[in-house]
Structures are given as C-alpha cells and as structure tokens.
C-alpha cells in the first residue's frame, strides 16, 4: 500500500486526463451567492492585492517563455492551458479584469487549476525573464477559494486537523506519546540504553517531524533516534502540540492558520529552551518554517535557527559524530525537492552526503534548481484520491527523467522529502519504472557505525 493509502491500480493506456470525481468543490461552490463571490474577491484584492500582484499582472509580456518550465504543460502534450502564464490567464487575470464578477462555474475551475494543476514549485521563475512568481499568483487564487470555502475536501481535512490538533493527521496526544515510547522500545533492542527524550529542557536540539511520521512511517522516528543517540546529541522532542512542523494550511490559502501553526511550533522549541530546530526530511514543512510561517507572524527570519535533516546529517558526518563504515552499494540518483533546493539551496550538501555514503551516483537531468517537481508538492497529493490519476499523468516528464537516470545505471532514488516520496512512488508504479526510493536517514542508518565511542559515552550519562 502506498504511504498515502490511496493508490489505485491504473492502466497506462488511456490518453486524455480522466474525469475527476471530487464533488466537494461542486457542492461548496453551488452554495455561493453571486454577490458573495464578488464581495469576497473585492475585499481580498483591496486588502491583500498589493504591488506584487499589480506588477506581475502588468509586467507579464505574454511571451510564453515560462511554458517550458512546467511539468504539467510538458506532460500534457504542451497544452497551453497548463502553462504557468496560461493558468494565470484562466484565473487571476480574468478575476482582476472582471473585478471579481465571476460565475460559480468559474470559481470551480479556478479552484481546480490553483489546487491541482500547480505545485507552487517556482520552477517557472527560472524561465520567465521577469522572474514573475506564478506560485504567488496561484496562492492568491487559493486564498480566494479558501475565503469562499471552496477547497478540495481531502486537503481541507488536513487543514481542519491542523486547526483542531495542531498536527496534520488527527494524531491524538496519547497516540503520539505512545508512538515515541514504542519506537524507543524497539530501538533499545538494537542500541541498549537508547532514549527518545521528551520535553527535556535545555537540550541543544528540538527535533520536529511531520504528522504522517507517527501515522505511517514510524521507522523514520526510530532511525532518527538511532542517529541522534549514536552521535551523542543533546536533543528532545515535545509531547505537546508543536511537535508537527508540517503545514497544509500554507497550501489551502489559510494564512491565519499557517501563522498559528508556526507560532506553536516555534514556541514549543523556545519553551524548552532549545538552541535550534532540526527538522526531518520534509520539504513543505521546511518551506513553512523557514520561509512562509515566519513572515505571516511578522518576522523576517525564524526566531531560532532551523536546520533541515540534510544540513544536520552533513554536519554529523563532517564532524565525525557518526562514522560511515560501509557504502550503500546500489547505484543511486538524487531527486532535488523543490522546497529545499529551489527553496533552500541544500543541493550541494545533499551531494556531499551521497559522496560519503554511496558507492555510485548518477545525476538525473535536469538537476539542482532545475529539477522537475514530483507533482505531489504544493498540496496536490493532499487533494487526495480523486486527483491521483490526473496527478500521475500530469508528470510524464518526471517519469522520462527517471527512466533516463535508470538507463544510466541508477536503481535507487534518494528523495529527502515526504511529499516527493508519495509522488515518486506513484509515478514509479504507474510508469512501471521499477526503482526504489529512500530517505537519507535510510541510507545513513544502514551505513553508519552504531558502536561509535560517543554513543556509549552519551548513553552512560543517562
């Protein structure tokens, strides 16, 4: 079963995109009154539509150069409706020209475009000569949809979970604590004396994960605990809200909840007097903590240093806090996740880790800042099963790119991002690529010396 639990068996033969079966958009939109739409849009354009919106809309030369950036466009036989500027034209451009006087049908279509045909991946910024940020414009459309209450139901459900529990997957407090204890117990069989410290004040590191980890991928918590213990790090997690660094509200256009979630996360780390936040291998969570959430809270930068797992593992390996004793022997390729590469510049550090831990590395093309999105990001995978087939078909270029890497020898894809895993798994299955995907923690866990002198030292202290 796939991580997201909703992969269906799909046939490779059909050409056109399948009809999407999500009645939540229809149901929500049909309830709208016409004047409600224009009132909400006018208010948003007035309150939030500032210099960026105006300049982007006016500066766009309608040159179409951004098209080649977008995997939706490239994968759908270069249908211009899927090009970045094409999506802008069908949505916010008309909304502004009609001053918000658009129909219910229009809102349904705009919602589908903004939520399921753009990953907010910002690859197009690298192809538009003006650097027009189509992701910003699509977020604006999502914001309108959010305020109208027209949002695909699966992603809205995660947003509800965030609002009610401050985590993405309706994980209850006792379930969360149980998961930590359970993983601690399991890991103690491998490393006697191992601990997963919970709510320990003054630890150096506040380690945060995302909701799906306790829900579907508890082994990642296990691996992180082993790595932390072997390296003898001073670390803690929290039992209280704030343990989850994910943020689907960032993708539903709910800026207010985005900010609240980050506030709770930062406060959890600060309350425990930790020195820095280390995050697991997630892309969108990293974006929400280092780039988006802090802004909505009015801070130029996060209030304490935030370190992605890639930076952290790189640091541990270079400082010899962990020793790599054997190398991963299958040839690997690396998928640069948008949010930590185009959005965080971690591509060279990632290659540094690969260099230290893997026998044989094959670059896929394009790579680094120019890598194609997995098409799960930006909340698309969170829009759920109704869109799975469309999502996978709309990323044929990714399959081609992976197939090329495979023909150059690669067997394993390293993708240090949860969403990328979900997206790539579906692509690999649908296009029958027969490759496997790993996190860095899988690789490091497998290749490290678990009897490091620091380990015993640290464990003795407890």
């Amino acid at each position: 079963m796939s991580y997201w639990g909703f992969r269906k068996v799909m046939s490779v033969s059909a050409k056109a995109l399948p009809k999407v079966l999500d009645d939540s958009i229809d149901k929500a939109a049909d309830r709208l009154a016409a004047d409600q739409i224009s009132a909400v849009i006018e208010r948003l354009l007035y309150n939030e539509g500032g210099a960026r919106l105006k300049t982007y809309m006016e500066t766009c030369a309608h040159c179409g150069l951004c098209s080649d950036a977008c995997h939706h466009y490239l994968s759908n036989n270069k249908d211009p409706k899927f090009s970045p500027a094409g999506k802008v034209r069908q949505t916010i451009d008309l909304i502004i020209r009609k001053k918000g006087n658009v129909s219910i049908e229009f809102i349904k279509r705009a919602c589908e475009i903004a939520f399921t045909e753009c990953n907010l991946c910002r690859r197009c910024v690298l192809y538009c000569p003006f650097g027009i940020d189509v992701a910003y414009l699509m977020i604006f459309v999502r914001r309108i949809c959010h305020q109208l209450g027209v949002v695909p139901k699966f992603i809205q459900d995660t947003a509800h979970s965030h609002s009610a529990t401050f985590n993405q997957m309706w994980v209850k407090e006792d379930e969360w604590i149980d998961t930590l204890f359970w993983q601690e117990e399991e890991a103690r069989e491998e490393i006697p004396g191992l601990r997963i410290p919970v709510d320990q004040e003054c630890a150096e590191i506040f380690y945060s994960v995302i909701g799906p980890e306790p829900k579907f991928r508890a082994q990642l918590i296990y691996q992180a605990a082993v790595i932390m213990n072997v390296a003898g790090m001073s670390w803690t997690m929290t039992a209280k809200p704030g343990w989850d660094s994910s943020n689907m509200c960032m993708y539903t256009g709910d800026h207010e909840m985005t900010a609240r979630l980050k506030k709770v996360h930062f406060e959890a780390a600060l309350r425990l007097k930790t020195k820095r936040i280390v995050m697991g291998e997630c892309g969108h969570a990293f974006r929400s903590v280092t780039d988006v959430g802090n802004r909505y809270l009015g801070w130029k930068a996060p209030p304490l240093p935030v370190v992605h797992a890639i930076e952290f593992y790189h640091e541990l390996i270079s400082n010899k806090r962990i020793n790599i004793v054997q190398k991963f022997d299958k040839p690997v390729t690396f998928h640069d996740p948008c949010n930590i590469v185009r959005g965080g510049g971690l591509h060279e550090l990632a290659r540094g880790i690969i260099d230290k831990t893997c026998e044989h590395f094959v670059e896929m093309h394009p790579n680094r800042e120019h890598n194609y999105c997995c098409n799960a990001g930006g909340g698309i995978i969170n829009c759920g099963p109704p869109y799975t087939s469309k999502r996978v078909r709309s990323n044929r270029v990714k399959a081609d790119q992976l197939r090329d890497a495979k023909s150059w020898g690669a067997r394993t894809i390293i993708a240090p991002c949860h969403n990328c895993h979900g997206g790539l798994e579906d692509i690999i299955k649908f296009y029958q690529l027969d490759m496997d995907i790993k996190f860095f923690s899988d690789i490091i866990y497998g290749c490290m010396d678990k009897n490091h002198p620091l380990t015993t030292e640290a464990i003795k202290k407890y």
């Binding site: 300049t55 094409g86 003006f130």
Partner: protein, 220 residues
C-alpha cells in the same frame, strides 16, 4: 494644412509626450513603491542589492540563463530588438540635430547606414514576435488584441521613420505619422504593458533577492 499639423506634432506635442513619459514613469515607480510599503512590505524587507544585481545581470546578459540558452533564436531576436529599439532613436542623426536645434546640446550619432540597419532590425523583431504569437500555441493562448496593438505601436514609428529617411514618396505624410506615432509610443510606456521596462529591475531584483537571500539558490 500639413504644415500646421507638422508644427503641432513637432512642437508642443513633443514636449507633452516627453513629460508624460518622464513624469508618468516616476509616478508609476514611486506609487508602486508606496503600495509595496503599504501592502507588500516583504518586497522592501527582503530586497537585497547584491542578489538583485546578481539576478538582473544574469537576465540582461544574453544567454546567461538556461532559459535563454534553450531558446537561442528567441534570445537573439529579443536582445537585438530591444537594443536597437532603445539606442536607435537616441543616437539617430536626425534626432540629435533636432535636439541640438532646440536645446543646443548634442552627442555622438549613428552613421545613416547603421541606423537604417538598426531600424530594420526593430521592424524585423516585430514581425518575428507577430509570427511567433500567431503560430506558437502557448503564446497564442496568452494573446489578445492588445498584444497585436502594442506590437503595431512599436513598429509604427520605426516603419514610418524609415520610410521618411529613405525619402520615398509621401515623405511629408510619413514624417507626420512618424512623429505622431513616436510620441504616442513614448507617452504610452508608463501606462501600458511597456511599463515592463520600468518594472523589470524590480520584479527580477526582488526574485533575485528572495532566491539569493532567503532560498540560497540561483534563479537563472
């Protein structure tokens, strides 16, 4: 009659168009800056001169970005079009002379043959953009009447100026059309999509700052 029109278009209207261009440009840039300060403070907070320039340079040097290298013909046309579009009117002998007559200042000017070639380059660029717009589906999809209109507006002073400079039949009419369309073009820059000239450094510079300063990544 022709003489009167000539007098008006080559006298007061030149002033009007220049003032509209200069004041309009200042107004657009400043009012946009104020709007940013009010509603989009991120643009100002995150603007970083070093990263802004780094990005701008990668996009005004031909072929310095992957996007440009992927489309070599478009890039060649776009650059020669823009360079000739801006330099020709400034360094044209006829224009330098007119300015010398009115203000008694002058500068270096282009040899006629070269000015002719640059004028034709601009016209050819317009034709290239026109064809591209008509035949490439991804560009046609973005096109509406205003795009064709703007292309015609750019082509008009160059085509009519060239006509006049060759002293082809209908010189007087061509000259009047030339001057008039030139004035309309100049005055329209701040108020139409030609304002991309004013905003280019800001849109690119802002994205460069976000990519360089916050996201630690290249944006070219």
């Amino acid at each position: 009659m022709m003489h009167d029109i000539y007098y008006i278009v080559s006298g007061p209207m030149v002033w009007i168009s220049m003032v509209l261009f200069a004041a309009g440009s200042l107004y657009r840039v400043f009012s946009m800056g104020l709007l940013a300060a009010k509603k989009d403070h991120v643009v100002i907070s995150y603007m970083n001169i070093r990263y802004a320039l780094r990005s701008i340079l990668h996009w005004i040097i031909p072929y310095a970005s992957i996007s440009m290298r992927r489309r070599p013909v478009m890039t060649a046309v776009a650059f020669s079009f823009h360079i000739c579009l801006i330099l020709t009117p400034i360094f044209l002998l006829a224009h330098v002379l007119l300015i010398k007559e009115s203000w008694n200042i002058s500068w270096w000017y282009l040899p006629d043959r070269i000015a002719d070639a640059m004028t034709l380059t601009v016209i050819a660029g317009c034709i290239f953009f026109l064809i591209r717009r008509a035949i490439r589906p991804e560009v046609r999809y973005l096109t509406d009447a205003s795009d064709y209109f703007l292309l015609a507006l750019v082509a008009a002073p160059f085509a009519s100026g060239f006509w006049a400079a060759q002293h082809w039949p209908g010189y007087n009419l061509a000259l009047v059309i030339h001057i008039l369309s030139g004035e309309v073009l100049l005055a329209s820059i701040p108020f139409t999509r030609f304002s991309h000239m004013l905003f280019f450094p800001f849109t690119r510079g802002y994205m460069g700052s976000e990519f360089g300063g916050v996201r630690k990544a290249k944006d070219w």
